[in-house]
């Protein structure tokens, strides 16, 4: 029986979490598509050359390390992120449940007002219990497209660890709807008008309807708490005294790019986020929500995804200049893929979504946030680890939440998400050092430091790997076939305390990976891991 007494004295300061907040001090930020498009799509692309810090990073290709990581390169729970599935796998039931919000109770629903923002048609309803929901619909020619995407992707993001609303796929008949006499909406000309039952019927003429006379929608609960508007992907809310860290330095924000690439969340932007003050154990706490998943997978909310989505930003100056100076002779990857697809979408309920020419490192969202540009290899690695923690059965369970009627479509979607998961895992593991899950155990002649090669563990690489070990500031170097090394007592006695063990891996005929640095401390006859650092 081990009798070592553990004395963990943590001397490092605490990672910021910006949890508790004074609701009165926080100003509400404004939500605007036009502002997002202008600020990020045009303005920042030009002005970044005047910001010396950004210019320096562009010229030197150096990216700053994330500030919200702990000494083991993990992201502790915060107002942005909670470690869920990767920390402790959720059961299929928990995956299906998502963030646990209720679905509208079947029965009579009262329409209270039309949707204020966004391009999907939709309206707000209250069920018979008085709970309010937002209903959004599928485009008329693409039944199940965006409602399924919303249900599936929101649950994926919840399982990953983000705060998301719960989206349920619901069905209803027109007769189930009644309209509040005070209900209003904004018509296509921008004028506020009274919403009548006839107008609701007119709106529903332009949405997909099932053959069984039921309308299908995605229903999400209205936020429980005080809504304070979207959060800034790059900056921070100046009225929040706790949260003065620019979000571009947070791994939890940067890694959104990797998670978004998995579900093809093209419209990931500030306008599709929401800060909400909620009561947590009686204390007001700020939660940063990611919302609106109707533009994920093969859906673009009111249409199938156009072929260029995921390959280019809306204003992509790099791609633009490449096109101009190639004089039209360069066929872009998305054009090649579109042509290979005969420029058609074969499955209306799934839209345009596959892994042909999918490059995890080159995937792009609509807008080029600095947070996404600052994504380092270790940020991507962390995100890839979380994505790889989803087994095939987990993905099957998540896809079930989309309630796609065609089992073949469900199978194809699961296959695509599984493949995509593996492509992302392989890409980011190869960019960093894929050794993780370290264990230290006492051996007869010293201590064994055991790691797991995630590329091999997940079956992403079948080639034989070799590993190189080097203790910094010493002559200790080893190269061997397995991801574990025994540090004997005589070697240990020569190392400083603490000391740093650098580990690199490579596959057959490949280059050595970036190193992962383990900081190890000798303490009272034990060897303790006190820090992990991965190359940026």
């Amino acid at each position: 029986m081990a009798t070592a007494i553990v004395l963990q004295t943590v001397l490092s300061p605490v990672v910021y979490s910006a949890e508790s907040v004074d609701p009165g001090k926080l100003k509400t930020s404004k939500q605007s598509v036009y502002v997002d498009l202008f600020d990020q799509g045009l303005y920042e692309e030009g002005v970044q050359f005047l910001r010396l810090g950004d210019l320096f990073r562009k010229v030197t290709f150096k990216k700053p390390a994330a500030w919200d990581i702990n000494i083991f390169e993990e992201v502790p729970d915060s107002a942005f992120f909670t470690n869920r599935h990767a920390k402790k796998p959720l059961s299929p039931t928990e995956l299906l449940e998502g963030s646990g919000g209720p679905a509208p109770k079947p029965g009579k629903w009262t329409v209270t007002h039309g949707k204020v923002n966004g391009i999907n048609p939709g309206f707000f309803i209250k069920d018979e219990t008085g709970q309010e929901f937002i209903l959004k619909f599928d485009p008329i020619d693409y039944s199940e497209l965006s409602t399924a995407a919303e249900a599936i992707s929101s649950r994926i993001f919840h399982a990953i660890g983000y705060y998301v609303p719960t989206y349920h796929v619901v069905k209803f008949r027109l007769d189930d709807l009644q309209v509040d006499p005070q209900a209003s909406y904004y018509n296509e000309h921008g004028f506020k008008r009274l919403l009548t039952k006839e107008k609701v019927q007119d709106l529903l003429l332009f949405v997909a309807k099932g053959s069984d006379d039921f309308y299908r929608a995605s229903a999400s609960t209205v936020f429980d708490g005080t809504v304070k508007g979207p959060f800034d992907m790059d900056g921070y809310r100046k009225s929040d005294p706790q949260g003065q860290t620019p979000h571009r330095y947070l791994r939890a924000v940067r890694a959104l790019r990797v998670f978004a690439s998995w579900v093809n969340y093209y419209d990931l932007r500030s306008g599709n986020t929401m800060d909400v003050i909620q009561s947590v154990d009686g204390t007001p706490a700020l939660r940063h929500y990611v919302t609106d998943f109707a533009t994920t997978l093969g859906s673009a909310a009111n249409d199938v995804k156009p072929p260029q989505f995921g390959y280019e930003h809306v204003f992509d100056f790099g791609e633009f200049f490449k096109s101009v100076f190639s004089f039209g002779f360069w066929e872009k990857p998305w054009q090649k893929r579109w042509n290979e697809n005969n420029r058609t979408v074969e499955t209306p309920s799934m839209g345009y979504f596959d892994n042909r020419h999918f490059d995890p490192g080159k995937w792009k969202s609509r807008l080029p946030y600095h947070a996404f540009k600052d994504l380092t290899a270790s940020d991507g690695y962390w995100a890839a680890k979380i994505i790889m923690s989803f087994k095939d059965e987990d993905i099957e369970a998540l896809v079930k939440s989309g309630q796609l009627s065609d089992s073949k479509v469900r199978e194809i979607l699961v296959k695509i998400l599984v493949e995509r998961r593996n492509l992302i895992g392989r890409y980011w593991f190869e960019k960093s050092c894929p050794i993780d899950q370290f264990e230290i155990s006492k051996e007869s002649n010293g201590f064994k430091v055991q790691g797991t090669d995630l590329l091999v563990h997940y079956g992403l690489d079948s080639a034989e790997h070799r590993y190189k070990y080097h203790v910094l500031k010493s002559n200790f170097q080893r190269e061997q076939a397995g991801p574990s090394i025994v540090l004997d007592e005589s070697s240990l006695s020569q190392f400083s305390n603490p000391f740093t063990l650098a580990i690199q891996a490579r596959g057959l005929n490949a280059k050595w990976s970036k190193p992962v640095y383990l900081t190890l401390r000798k303490e009272a006859g034990t060897l303790k891991l006190v820090g992990i650092k991965r190359g940026l």
Partner: protein, 440 residues
């Protein structure tokens, strides 16, 4: 308490200690997993330092401007001003009023224009779907003022007859004239003011959806005076037409249009042949024939992103029995060439730079797609214009061809050109063009 009790108490305490510490002890030697999500920070930073913030100092003034723009954009979106503006425009057009932009394509030459559809305004468009009754006015400060009307009948199907009666008045206070022929110099420019009134009847017949025949009969009165630009020379009164003219015009035109999409053709072409007879009336001692031929072809090359367009244009004005041709009715070359009665497309040269009895022109364009987002797209264009004017056919010489080259971008919505910005270079300088359509 006796010795046995003390010993047992100590043993019990040690046993208790071992059991309580065992999970901690074994876990520590096991793995990092217990502490994996510790809140101990790697980088103990909460915010940017003053130094780090100051690295963005240069951009601060622009950030202030951006804040103002953001507020404006937010206001537009929040109050749905864009939707309301579209609604307002739709309401105006539904009631027959069409506000537009009048442009001569050279950067800066633009102004307001408005068209009125009388049948729509009277709410009778549905009752008389094939009738046309329109008027309009356009104004470009110091460049153009015009008023026009049209009364006509459209064809009821893809083929069949159609016709109209048109009135057109235009005044151009400041037109440049450099002389007649290919060897004129910009230093010889003269300035004139023109005022033209045209009454015209057009009768057309669509033989097939692609072939149109048009017959026209018109009366045209042109007054010429010295121009408003005092910095240039006055018009030499010995030039034919310097005192204006009055005509009766009889003309025919046949068009064969096989373009797949007229505003953004990728395939097909246009062939247009016209013949007109001009007979001076009252004191106008002019009589001549005008022949005009135009052939344009468009072809996708290598891929559908890349289109090559070429146009050949020829015009010849042949005086009848020595009665002469007024200078303002001669073939003209120079400018973007999209406005009726202005010079044909020779970018890089001033509008109406060259006058001559005859004209030969080639425009070659290579258009290729550089950006696309949903229904919006942007084409880059590289062009080469080669043209010359001459009088008699015997005076044609290859060395008189004028060359201009350039490039630009065309922004399109659903293959309709919304905005074209081009820059052209010729031996006489560089010109920038902004237009709402393509030259061919």
């Amino acid at each position: 308490m006796n010795h046995w009790c003390h010993r047992n108490i100590i043993l019990l305490f040690l046993l208790f200690l071992s059991f309580s510490l065992y999970p901690l002890a074994s876990a520590h030697a096991q793995s990092q997993s217990d502490e994996t999500y510790t809140s101990a920070a790697r980088i103990p930073k909460q915010g940017e330092t003053v130094g780090e913030k100051s690295l963005g100092l240069i951009a601060w003034p622009l950030d202030l401007v951006r804040k103002g723009l953001d507020e404006s954009l937010y206001t537009v979106e929040h109050y749905r001003l864009d939707d309301k503006a579209k609604w307002a425009y739709q309401e105006m057009t539904d009631h027959g009023f069409y506000p537009k932009l009048e442009g001569l394509s050279t950067f800066g030459d633009s102004g307001p224009r408005a068209d009125l559809d009388f049948l729509r305004a009277a709410g009778q468009a549905g009752r008389f779907p094939y009738f046309r009754a329109k008027s309009g006015v356009g104004w470009i400060p110091q460049a153009l003022f015009r008023v026009y009307s049209e009364l006509g009948v459209e064809k009821s199907g893809e083929t069949g007859p159609y016709g109209s009666f048109n009135f057109h008045y235009e005044q151009r206070p400041r037109e440049d004239f450099f002389g007649i022929g290919p060897d004129t110099s910009r230093g010889d420019s003269m300035n004139y003011k023109s005022e033209a009134t045209t009454l015209e009847t057009r009768l057309g017949y669509s033989v097939t959806p692609k072939i149109d025949l048009i017959e026209k009969f018109a009366y045209k009165n042109v007054n010429i005076r010295n121009g408003d630009d005092g910095g240039k020379g006055l018009l030499d009164r010995s030039i034919r037409g310097a005192n204006g003219a009055e005509f009766l015009i009889l003309g025919s035109e046949i068009t064969h249009d096989t373009r797949d999409f007229p505003s953004d053709p990728h395939k097909g072409g246009v062939e247009r042949f016209g013949f007109s007879y001009y007979d001076g009336v009252n004191h106008s001692n002019f009589r001549y024939f005008k022949y005009r031929a135009e052939i344009a072809r468009y072809q996708e090359i290598f891929s559908d992103r890349q289109v090559l367009g070429v146009r050949f244009l020829g015009e010849h004005n042949d005086e009848f029995k020595g009665r002469g041709i007024p200078f303002f009715e001669m073939a003209r070359l120079g400018g973007y060439g999209v406005y009726p009665s202005l010079g044909d497309t020779q970018r890089g040269f001033q509008r109406n730079r060259f006058y001559g009895e005859s004209l030969l022109l080639m425009n070659l364009e290579y258009r290729y797609l550089v950006w696309q987002h949903r229904d919006f797209s942007l084409d880059a264009v590289i062009f080469w214009d080669e043209g010359q004017v001459f009088n008699e056919i015997s005076q044609f010489e290859f060395r008189d061809f004028r060359t201009s080259v350039g490039g630009g971008f065309r922004f399109k919505i659903l293959r309709n050109v919304l905005l074209s910005a081009e820059i052209a270079r010729s031996s006489e300088g560089t010109q920038l063009y902004v237009a709402t359509h393509t030259p061919f």
